[in-house]
Symmetry: C2
Subunit: 183 residues, 2 copies
């Protein structure tokens, strides 16, 4: 903030209801990593996320890899995490944020979904994501990227199937391409 002294340190936070709406896939765990709160969208599609369940019983950490303990998480809090819900294989991308003192440890993130069909398959709708969450944009760009690749493959297949001017056999007046170049 040294470059912008005119903007003071934040004094406004997010009350619980607005926090829940802003992060419908969040997790909050206590000192013993037992669940105390989960986002509404996440709680709906992962019914085993009951208060009191231990985080490592319901999730494993894919990135970084390691045993889910409070110390380990806090030691990696500057890192991006990819968590996998054990029961459903739903993946969440995000980061951990410890609250001051002995406060809960929050996981702020949202599903890592690259296939639009997975949204419906998981019982989710676009309205389950926060308005500011670019996850849905990401999904659309993934889809556009996949379509572009598929188009490119089709184009390449079409073009390579056209006869090209392969080396001609000499000795004949007929300049017909050799068979192999026809496919």
């Amino acid at each position: 903030m040294s470059d912008a002294p005119t903007i003071p340190a934040p004094a406004i936070g997010l009350p619980p209801a607005q926090f829940g709406a802003a992060f419908p896939f969040h997790l909050a765990v206590d000192r013993d990593l037992r669940l105390v709160q989960a986002g509404a969208s996440l709680g709906r599609i992962c019914p085993d996320l009951r208060p009191g369940v231990r985080l490592d019983e319901v999730f494993r950490s894919i990135r970084p890899e390691g045993p889910i303990t409070r110390e380990w998480i806090i030691g990696h809090q500057a890192r991006f995490f990819l968590l996998e819900h054990r029961a459903s294989a739903l993946q969440l991308r995000g980061g951990f944020v410890p609250l001051p003192g002995d406060g809960p440890l929050l996981f702020l993130g949202s599903p890592w979904i690259t296939d639009p069909a997975e949204i419906a398959r998981r019982g989710l709708g676009f309205e389950d994501f926060a308005i500011h969450d670019p996850a849905v944009d990401l999904l659309q760009v993934f889809q556009a990227s996949r379509n572009a690749l598929a188009d490119a493959k089709r184009l390449a297949a079409k073009l390579t199937s056209q006869p090209s001017c392969a080396p001609r056999t000499s000795g004949s007046g007929c300049r017909r391409p050799r068979r192999p170049s026809w496919r």
Copy 2:
């Protein structure tokens, strides 16, 4: 939440410091839409975001289009917003969240950047984005998509520039297929 009665309504929110870290591009305005808080990354690259400046003096709304007033924003609060910083043309995608009572109106969002070069051009680094923000992923997928398209174009250009069998002069006994079957 009716499907998951085991998860109670949220009781935990985000204190100011953690909120600021989670939304380094947020805005908070008072009842008169005067700026009271801005995320550290946004404040650094948009030095005209001083406390007291009116939101519509520094931003215009591209989507939805309309005059930036408190009533208009609250009437569209379920909508996705694309704001443009007047001075720099930086675009922010996100949504507005009114805090209870006469509390501030928050804009939760992050830059809408589709070209990786724009990050550096705007004086931003990846560390300016929240860990949970998929904006950086989005950027990488955009780039991958663009690369795929460029590859496809190159491939198409290469394949179409290969000598194809141009129309031959007739009058030979060569049984060359008719043109239409060549493509």
